[in-house]
């Protein structure tokens, strides 16, 4: 039982013990000294970390002893620095001394002590962060920078020089992560450049002593870097008064620094110290100031400046001095109108009118305006400027019709500047005058060309008849007492006989002629001679021979029949003769000589042959020296004919070739020229016509020649014979029947006429010759002509005149009986 009791006691004890053990408070855990810091090297504070308290209230004590001393002290001040800290005030702080510091935790159960912590005050210095960090954006000399300044921590005695602080600044823009740290040095301010305008920056600063640690960063400071700059310098551009009553000034703003900038115009008037602001910024538009009449004084100088202001600052322009009297520049004139008007004489001129600018008060005399015009054609480059003076219109006379003109006008007051040019006015100078002319001329040209074409066409159609049309034949002579009917209807025989009769004047010359004529009559055998020699035998010739036979010497001069017959016949033969003439002459002279022989043979026998042949023979041969052989003169018909032909030839050449060349002096040449000329002609008829024409041409001057004499009126008969015979050759020539032959038949007056020549195919000229007159005339003129022809060309014409008289005589003899008017008409 005792055992049980013992065990139970033990159990209870154990339990108690257990309880005891379970409820036992253990001693505190080991505390730890965290750090000791001195903010200013005058005091310091130590902080510890308590260990476990062991479930009991635990008391902590800081124990320390100084270097080299055994005495252990307890913390002088647990409260100042907060819980779990110990503050050593200046009294308890020794510099340059090591402190051995430990913390002891004590409770009811037991105590615990930390590891010792050795501290040297100088090495545990960490100042407080700087305070009062302030930031400022400053612009100076156009450069923008951030000005940061701060104060050293208050505990640190910087001023006494006891401590030296070094600062460091860091900044970053708000949205960025990294700081930009800048070592500042000992100064407590800093200029930060290269900032981005428009960003918000965060700035902090911290500091440290020579030794020790950096302080905490100061609290963050924020700054907004502004986006703009102060404005640039504005510039007063100019001031202008449009009418000498008000004026306006314009300025050019400088840079606005990216900020809204306000401009003010400040002015002071001469003799007035006060500075006024512009009365009206709006009327004249932006950047301008309008001075109305109230604010405008003449003869007073304005001192004007422009001030530009924005958030970042302001700027003032250079002052400008303005005298309103001399800044007048009117508006351009208005209503420039252009008008083309006509002078009294119908010439156009341009009237320009305009009005003075509406603002300018010209009427009151306050402003006197002078004007200048300028004009140019639309496509032109250069203006023509005209100073007009004070008038408001101008007349311009020199115009280029058909052009479009631009015109402008500007004006100037008596003491001021020229206004701008007015707006351009256009005018089209009408060109209808010129156009009308052009149209008329075109019309005329077209019309004339059409007429020409028609004429050419007609010519082509009608051929040679046209020539005759244009140059109508010589009208027939109108001779009193001449029975034209008989002439026309009468036989050639009769005509021939009439011719023959003419050769019987009572004079000796006439007798010679008669002899000759008789020879002609006899020499019927020789009729064929020409045909042999020239190779141109023709029936016509034969017939003529026969007819001449019958006529020669036998027919009475009076008989008109003879004349008519004769006049008929020769027309054909000459045409036949002509051809040989041409060919022969052109071929060689030898033949001519032969012809000459032949012709001499023929002389007096066959007048018609001889007429044709003598033309050839006489010229080169016997009559080489003289165109018209005085010998042959009127002794026989052939001679006369020769003469006539000769003269004719000369005349022809004188007309055609002679004018160009001096070859006329040589007498052989005329024939050549004639022949050549003839050769040139394509057809016989044509050449004949031309010859006939030339003959007629020759007649005209003869008609007027002084050789006309009243005596010529004595001739007996002249018949006009129509050119019926030509029909055989060219029927068309019927129309040209006007070609006439003048046949003078010696009448009862016993004066005789000669056949002066047979002109080609169609015209037989019969010349009344007065014995007395003709003899000298036929003989002399040729001589003269020889002399004359050898002279200069100027005299040549005269020589022709001399030669022509011989023919003139001959022809005029006939012409007397002609109606001169008819000649004139035909030639004109």
């Amino acid at each position: 039982m005792k055992q049980n009791l013992a065990s139970s006691v033990r159990f209870i004890l154990l339990l108690f013990l257990n309880i005891e053990c379970l409820n036992e408070q253990s001693p505190p855990g080991k505390p730890e000294v965290l750090k000791c810091r001195s903010p200013e090297m005058e005091t310091f504070t130590c902080w510890w970390k308590p260990g476990s308290d062991g479930g009991l209230p635990t008391n902590y004590t800081l124990l320390y002893n100084k270097e080299g001393k055994e005495q252990i002290y307890e913390c002088p001040d647990y409260r100042t620095a907060g819980p779990n800290s110990c503050y050593f005030d200046k009294k308890h702080t020794n510099l340059w001394t090591s402190y051995n510091i430990s913390v002891k935790a004590t409770n009811e159960v037991g105590s615990n002590i930390s590891n010792p912590h050795y501290v040297d005050v100088t090495s545990i210095v960490q100042p407080d962060p700087p305070i009062n960090l302030s930031l400022q954006v400053i612009q100076s000399a156009g450069i923008l920078y951030l000005w940061a300044n701060w104060s050293p921590p208050p505990l640190v005695d910087v001023r006494s020089g006891w401590l030296i602080l070094h600062y460091e600044l860091r900044l970053k823009s708000e949205e960025r992560e990294e700081w930009e740290t800048i070592f500042v040095g000992q100064q407590a301010h800093y200029k930060a450049f290269k900032l981005h305008p428009g960003l918000k920056y965060i700035v902090q600063v911290h500091c440290m002593l020579d030794h020790g640690e950096w302080s905490e960063w100061s609290s963050e400071s924020y700054i907004q870097i502004p986006n703009g700059q102060p404005p640039g310098k504005p510039e007063l551009l100019r001031c202008r008064s449009p009418e000498k009553e008000t004026f306006t000034c314009w300025w050019k703003p400088g840079s606005d620094g990216g900020l809204p900038t306000n401009y003010t115009l400040l002015y002071s008037k001469e003799g007035d110290k006060s500075i006024n602001e512009c009365p009206d910024y709006r009327t004249a538009g932006p950047n301008s100031c309008y001075f109305d009449k109230k604010h405008t004084s003449l003869w007073a100088i304005y001192n004007i400046t422009i001030k530009a202001t924005n958030k970042m600052g302001s700027n003032i322009s250079e002052p400008q001095y303005v005298d309103v009297t001399y800044i007048v520049q009117p508006d351009p004139p208005v209503n420039l109108s252009l008008e083309v008007k006509k002078q009294v004489d119908g010439k156009p001129y341009l009237l320009l009118k305009w009005h003075p600018p509406p603002l300018a008060d010209v009427k009151s005399g306050w402003l006197t305006l002078e004007y200048k015009l300028r004009l140019k054609p639309e496509e032109g480059d250069e203006w023509e400027t005209i100073f007009v003076g004070q008038q408001t219109q101008y007349k311009l006379f020199s115009l280029n019709p058909g052009k479009k003109y631009l015109a402008q006008v500007h004006c100037k007051p008596d003491h001021g500047e020229w206004s701008e040019w007015s707006s351009e006015s256009y005018i089209q100078i009408p060109s209808d005058i010129e156009l009308k002319d052009v149209i008329v001329w075109i019309f005329v040209a077209v019309l004339s060309s059409v007429i020409c074409l028609i004429i050419i066409w007609m010519m082509a159609l009608k051929g040679f008849s046209m020539v005759a049309c244009i140059l109508p034949p010589v009208p027939g002579p109108k001779i009193k007492g001449l029975d034209t009917h008989l002439l026309e209807t009468g036989r050639s025989d009769e005509f021939l006989s009439a011719l023959g009769c003419q050769d019987f004047p009572p004079t000796s010359d006439c007798e010679d002629l008669l002899v000759e004529f008789l020879e002609v009559d006899d020499s019927e055998d020789q009729q064929l001679m020409p045909s042999h020699e020239k190779g141109h035998p023709s029936k016509n010739m034969k017939s003529t021979h026969k007819e001449t036979d019958s006529d020669s010497g036998r027919g009475s001069c009076d008989s008109p029949f003879l004349l008519s017959d004769r006049s008929r016949e020769p027309r054909i033969p000459p045409s036949a003769f002509q051809t040989p003439d041409i060919s022969e002459i052109s071929e060689n002279n030898a033949r001519k000589s032969s012809c000459e022989i032949q012709s001499t043979d023929l002389k007096g026998k066959i007048p018609y042959f001889s007429i044709g042949s003598t033309k050839l023979s006489t010229w080169p041969g016997a009559q080489l020296s003289n165109n018209q052989t005085p010998k042959c003169s009127y002794h026989n018909i052939t001679d006369v004919c020769k003469i006539a032909l000769g003269t004719m030839n000369v005349n022809v050449t004188s007309i055609l070739g002679g004018n160009e060349e001096n070859q006329q002096s040589q007498y052989s040449k005329p024939t050549e020229t004639i022949s050549e000329e003839k050769l040139d002609k394509q057809g016989e008829v044509e050449s004949l016509h031309s010859k006939a024409d030339q003959d007629r041409m020759q007649l005209l001057p003869n008609e007027k020649s002084p050789f006309l004499s009243a005596k010529l009126m004595d001739y007996v008969e002249i018949h006009k014979v129509n050119q019926d015979g030509a029909l055989a050759v060219l029927p068309k020539q019927k129309e040209n029947g006007g070609k006439t032959e003048n046949c003078t038949v010696p009448g009862t007056s016993k004066e005789y006429a000669k056949v002066s020549r047979v002109v080609d195919n169609s015209i037989l000229v019969i010349i009344p010759v007065s014995r007395v007159q003709t003899t000298p005339m036929f003989q002399e003129p040729p001589k003269e002509s020889v002399q004359n022809l050898q002279q200069s060309q100027t005299e040549k014409n005269m020589s022709y005149c001399f030669t022509t008289p011989s023919e003139c005589k001959i022809d005029t003899g006939g012409l007397d009986y002609l109606d001169p008017t008819s000649f004139m008409c035909s030639f004109n």
Binding site: K244, E245, L298, W299, I301, Y321, W366
Partner: protein, 248 residues
């Protein structure tokens, strides 16, 4: 007075009977003067005038109305102003903005003159005429003084000096001419005869002119240029008020 006869010579007296006899010199003497002065001064307008009126009793002289004379006065003032402008610009403008140096010390500044069109137009004709005469009077003395002491103005070129001399003469002539025209207008009843304060104004002008001697050359020329422009403007306004139409 003689000088002015270039512009308003005696021949007008022959044509306009209202001119007092006292102003009518013998024509021969007048022309002699004219020729001499013409030669000296070389004034084309005068020459024209003389040419017109050279023949006595010429009808062309008769048509020289008061308005024609007034035109001549205006022409004269034009010329005066352009002369002073030439002088001013030649000597001072190249040196920069000389207006900045301007102190506003014209000796005529104390005279109350209208400085705008409407003010000018409000002033009665008589007063305006008076004003013109006063302005001219105020310059007469200083200009002759300026002219006399011309040797002292070494900074001025000889050309400028001759211009200054010319200006001095012309102001004299202009004033005389203006007085003539005024008399004529008064006699014709165009303006009233209320201009009897001339004597006092002349005295005032003299007192004013002393100030002018204190001015610098620059100020002097500047002031004169300004006042010649005033005179010109007033003359034009006055003419257009009296004779509206024509070139007005």
């Amino acid at each position: 007075m003689e000088a002015w006869r270039l512009q308003v010579p005696g021949c007008q007296n022959t044509s306009l009977p209202r001119v007092p006899f006292s102003l009518r010199p013998t024509l021969g003497l007048c022309y002699a003067w004219l020729c001499a002065l013409l030669w000296l001064l070389g004034k084309p307008p005068g020459a024209v005038f003389v040419a017109i009126c050279a023949r006595q009793g010429d009808s062309s002289c008769r048509f020289l109305s008061v308005s024609d004379l007034f035109d001549r006065v205006i022409q004269h003032s034009d010329r005066l102003h352009s002369l002073s402008t030439a002088l001013y610009e030649k000597n001072f403008l190249p040196n920069g903005n000389e207006l900045g140096k301007w102190t506003g010390k014209c000796h005529t500044s104390r005279m109350l003159t209208p400085n705008g069109k409407e003010y000018v137009q409000k002033i009665p004709r008589e007063e305006l005429t008076h004003l013109i005469l006063r302005l001219l009077q105020a310059w007469k003395e200083p200009l002759s003084h300026f002219d006399q002491n011309i040797g002292h103005h070494q900074e001025l070129s000889s050309d400028s000096l001759s211009k200054a001399k010319q200006i001095s003469n012309m102001v004299h002539e202009l004033k005389t001419g203006m007085e003539k025209v005024t008399e004529k207008m008064q006699s014709m009843g165009i303006i009233s005869n209320s201009l009897n304060g001339m004597g006092s104004s002349e005295a005032a002008g003299l007192s004013i002119s002393n100030e002018a001697n204190l001015m610098s050359d620059y100020e002097f020329i500047h002031c004169f240029r300004r006042d010649s422009n005033k005179v010109q403007s007033y003359l034009k306004i006055l003419k257009c008020r009296i004779w509206p139409g024509n070139s007005c």
